[in-house]
């Protein structure tokens, strides 16, 4: 979808409807599914919510790779509960998209065909069990920074889904940090695993907030519509400020020689992000893009007969009753 398509004004719209919509947004009240809304608003929301839902579902895989191999039964249970939550969160979000007239099966097709994106962070591999902890700490931490403001999104079903997601995710970040604390108190190999995982995930986590504000074409409109509440750079800075002291407490080094407290602002300055890498990963050249999508495709195609069987059964039994 091009930016111009989003920005083009709706034709033949009763000006009263547009005024009512604008007034609702201006008053910080919620837009609900059956309200009139500009077509661009609807499409932007569907795209953003679907991308968010896809990220939850694809996000099950990097950690899911460790479900069968978790080194203790407690960690296995925690990780299973977490990965299961991600499936649930994907469902809440697809639900919100469906209130806008989208269809979950169609959105899944778009994901698998590459017509819709998901967060590029999930295209990196999880090489050791420390990655499970670092994903909880950094990736979920970044996600929480992004998501908490969305609980006030102008679109009611999205905001309500995010309230639920954020409440459930509070344990995700904590379990990750707790695992890392435990590993840092463990053997030298465990400590090395943690540092190595931090080295690999730090920069991709910063990229999760999206391109810099100077290069974020749709941001201004999304902010005006109340779909987005803070700029990418603002949220990224908030995340860095929050995370640096946690890294110190943990005893790991963040892989950025330029990272330093700016005494005049009380905030941390950090080094330049390699945006070319982000573009490569988003455009499909990440280490695991093909694998992630192949797994979703297999889940859909190999089990289509199950979905069909349940429908056939329901039809037979409706007809009989």
């Amino acid at each position: 979808m091009s930016a111009t398509a989003l920005d083009s004004p709706d034709v033949d719209v009763d000006p009263g409807l547009q005024e009512q919509f604008d007034a609702t947004i201006a008053a910080e009240r919620r837009i609900e599914p059956r309200d009139w809304m500009p077509e661009g608003y609807r499409r932007t929301l569907v795209r953003q919510i679907a991308q968010h839902a896809h990220s939850e579902i694809i996000g099950m895989q990097p950690e899911g790779d460790w479900l069968l191999r978790a080194p203790s039964l407690r960690r296995k249970a925690v990780l299973l509960a977490k990965v299961q939550d991600e499936a649930g969160h994907g469902m809440y979000l697809y639900s919100a998209a469906e209130t806008l007239g989208a269809d979950r099966a169609d959105l899944t097709d778009r994901l698998i065909d590459g017509r819709q994106k998901y967060s590029s962070i999930f295209n990196y591999p999880t090489l050791t069990f420390a990655d499970v902890g670092v994903i909880g700490w950094l990736v979920d931490g970044a996600a929480i920074c992004n998501q908490v403001p969305l609980c006030r999104s102008s679109y009611g079903p999205y905001a309500r889904a995010m309230v639920r997601v954020c409440k459930e995710e509070s344990f995700h970040q904590r379990q990750g940090y707790e695992l890392l604390l435990t590993m840092m108190r463990g053997t030298p190999e465990q400590r090395a695993m943690v540092q190595d995982a931090v080295d690999r995930w730090w920069w991709p986590s910063l990229m999760m907030f999206g391109p810099p504000d100077t290069d974020s074409p749709n941001s201004a409109q999304s902010m005006a519509w109340g779909i987005k509440r803070h700029s990418n750079d603002e949220l990224r800075q908030r995340f860095v400020d929050m995370t640096v002291p946690q890294a110190a407490f943990l005893g790991v080094t963040l892989p950025d020689p330029d990272l330093a407290l700016d005494p005049s602002t009380g905030r941390y300055r950090f080094g330049a992000i390699d945006w070319e890498e982000l573009k490569r990963v988003i455009s499909g050249a990440g280490p695991c893009n093909a694998e992630r999508i192949a797994r979703r495709r297999a889940a859909r195609d190999d089990n289509a007969w199950v979905t069909e069987a349940a429908i056939a059964y329901a039809r037979k039994h409706e007809a009989r009753s």
Binding site: R34, D103, A105, D106, D109, T307, Y313, E318
Partner: protein, 96 residues
């Protein structure tokens, strides 16, 4: 729309605890009513949030349409006496 025939959409309502109304919590896809209740239990009460679940096919819900919003809801908009805050009660009256 997808070429595949998907499961229909169900809306899910959960009674959080005794004494509360069922509240809409979201939706899911299921092939039939029974499976919808199962899926609702699995998805929406993972943390013991509910004591009772209702599911209803989304296409079975009749809703007031936005165009009707004003005529349907405006009449009660001025009946402030239906709302408890309409009544001024001295602050020292207990349990009201």
């Amino acid at each position: 729309m997808s070429a595949r025939a998907g499961w229909p959409l169900y809306e899910v309502f959960v009674r959080g605890k005794r004494g509360l109304n069922h509240v809409h919590v979201g939706s899911l896809h299921a092939p039939d009513d029974e499976m919808a209740v199962h899926a609702a239990r699995d998805v929406y009460t993972r943390r013991n949030e509910g004591v009772s679940i209702w599911v209803v096919r989304a296409d079975a819900i009749t809703a007031s349409s936005p165009d009707e919003k004003d005529p349907m809801f405006a009449p009660s908009g001025d009946k402030v006496y239906r709302h408890p805050t309409f009544y001024e009660i001295p602050a020292d009256v207990p349990h009201i």
